[in-house]
Amino acid sequence: MKTHVFTMLTLVITGMFAASAAAAGDDEAAESLVFPESYKAGSVSNGGTITGTVTFEGEAPAMKKLEITKNPEVCGVTDKFDESVVVGEGNGLKNTIIYLMDISSGAGFPKGAKVKHQIDQKGCQFNPHVNLIPVGKRLTMLNPDKIMHNVHIFSKENPPYNKSQPGSRRKMPVKAVKKAEGPVAVKCDVHGWMKAWIAYIPHPYFAVSDENGQYKLENVPPGTYKLGYWHEACGTNTESPESVTVDAGGAATKDFTLSLKN
């Protein structure tokens, strides 16, 4: 019977040009960051800073209110909005990754108990929306909602990851990865609207712009670098990165103005 159906299908399909079935959803491959081939971590003396503001060009699109189709008693307590474009004061664009594309040696990642890599899922929304997780560091998923979530990380370079986090697990550690990658999507399939991003980074010269669009890269060894950006809805400048020169102990400034990619 099964073979029969299969043969029939093949015949029909090859016989005529049939309309496309369900098109892929909105998960088209996001553009990636650029990582150095190798990176040597050491101590940096006389490092400088790079600061700046990321601005959204033109009128900011209204944030779409998310439809809460499940667990409204927990997820629907406050309104939730699509965070793909978050614009603040003076059109400052939040959640843009600004980073050095071609640095091959510099500082290591800050150490100590204070440094916590965690994503909260309170109220069925990931917070932060864009996350920088160092290669080799574990991440903790928080679940104060007391309802089931699943942590589904759409890794391509690293092994796939999709684990359930039932309401009884308020905290769940997520394994560290070996390869720099991303940003990759993080989703909760139980609550289909929940979406965030993780970039697995090999060096500390990455920053995410805040609600005013401001970013800061610190302790940068003196030199000239390619300065890249990544934004979920505005794309990347991988093809034509900015050039920035940092003097010893100096402060460089670089602002960005982004618009929605076509």
Partner: protein, 576 residues
Amino acid sequence: MNRLFAKKSFIIHIASFLLLPAIITCPLFAQGKSAPAASEAGNLLYIDKCGHCHGIEGAGDGDAAENLLPRPRDFTSGLYKIRSTESGNLPTDQDLFEVISNGMPGSSMPAWKGLLSEDERWSLVAQIKTYFDGFEEASRRVIDLSGKIPYSEESVAKGKTFYAELGCVECHGVLGRGDGTSAPDLTDESGFRSWPANMEHSWNFRGGSATEEIFKRFIGGIAGSPMPAFVSSFRLGLTDAESARIIALEDQDEMTEEEEAEYTQLEEKAYEYEDIMLRIEEGEEITHEEQNKLDEAMKPIFEKSWHLANYVKSLGREGRPPAAVGDKVLRSQYFVGDLPGLNDAAWSEIKEASYFPLVGQVVIEPRQFNPSIDSVTAKSYYNDNEAAFLFEWDDRTKTLPQADDETGETVEDAIAIQFPVKVPKSPSDPKPYFIWGGRRPVYLWHWKVSEPNKITEMNAKGIDKATVQASQSQMQVEGVYEDGRYRLWVKRALKTDDRNDLKFEPETFIPIAFSAWDGANGDVKTKRAISTWYSFVLDPVPSNKRFVYPPVVALISAGLLFGLRKSVRNREKLNQ
């Protein structure tokens, strides 16, 4: 005594020394046969047999791919659903071999066992592995099945509580019919629609419905799909009481210093074990002591998981039911008095509903290559004036009229029950074309979820040539949706005044067929699931003669016996 002991211990030492490599490798790493090296012959065979769907370079993009759901595997992604290995691991060679050999039920992947030799299938395994570099690097850890708990009522009952607690219901629904509240929005990692399994239709489980397979999917997840690995659902190394305590502490708004200390201690205890597991996932080496410690901590977790697997097993039927032909044909039973309504217990007296398999309508554009409704079942009663039917079919979503995301067409859940206008005199006489007739017209009962208590009578001379009858018969109709299943009750007079209606007469085999639309699957108009012709028959009216013949027969027999007795006696007298 001492010597004996020493000798014994010596033997044990030797034995463990010999067994050591086996102990180390067996539970941790890939079991089963390994694939040979990739060959040109394997490549050619792959292109010939697999390329049409999976693409000639393994990217899941063959000519047929775009019309299939689930989509053919993209071998370059390294995401494999059916694995005997732990979450995040690639499948073993044996896993790949099994899938090629047995196919994937409920999908378009056929079983190649009877079509290709064992060597040929192994050459395909080797070929498939060339599409993803990861196969060269990673060792694969196999899920430990040694603690299997046998199937029992007790185990099933325990599993049922975990089913609810762990959130299986979110996608698979309360009764496991794949109708959970998260079901409508699920997509796989490529953005294609992904339906949670209907546990009752266990013959569609892609990796087979053995309890071990269910256990593996639960522990290891189904990579690339929304189904997560549940191995992390419980806290490792804590007793149930300690787990409950840690949750209670977390739920408190504030903790005293003592409670804070207690919490930290519990958390650290759990993390000791968690850390071993994470290090394994991260590809680190662990010591034997650590492995033993983890194994010990996993025991209660595996135990619970086996209970859950037994529960899921209990939901499935033993194989796909046979279609309603031969002795399984739909028989309407004679019922004395008023016919039973939708929720009447009388329906459960018919033990086995007749089963009508459905397939996608792929003859006329637009087609449905991936139907989500795979069957309709029916029961029927009739009396001297009317016939009543109970039709049931599983649908993971209740879809009231809405605009389809893709086509913009208004879709909704519906069903049509089809009969010929004119019943063929004998089974060999031609019937109307099975998809809504042609030259010979069909008579249709069309029901849709937006009007659950109404059936529209139609006649059709082709799939797009249906007309609503000018005069509608008096029919009683009740349709409900509950736990992933539609139940539709219909009652109609045996005979109506309309000559375009079908007349139901006892002992006549009447052709019957079905069309079903799942709005959430984009079904509308010709895009739907359909069946071929089946038949149903009203059982003969039980004759009153059954009350007459038996006493008559009894009387005659008694008379004959008396006669015999008399004649024997007479003979005896004569002989004396």
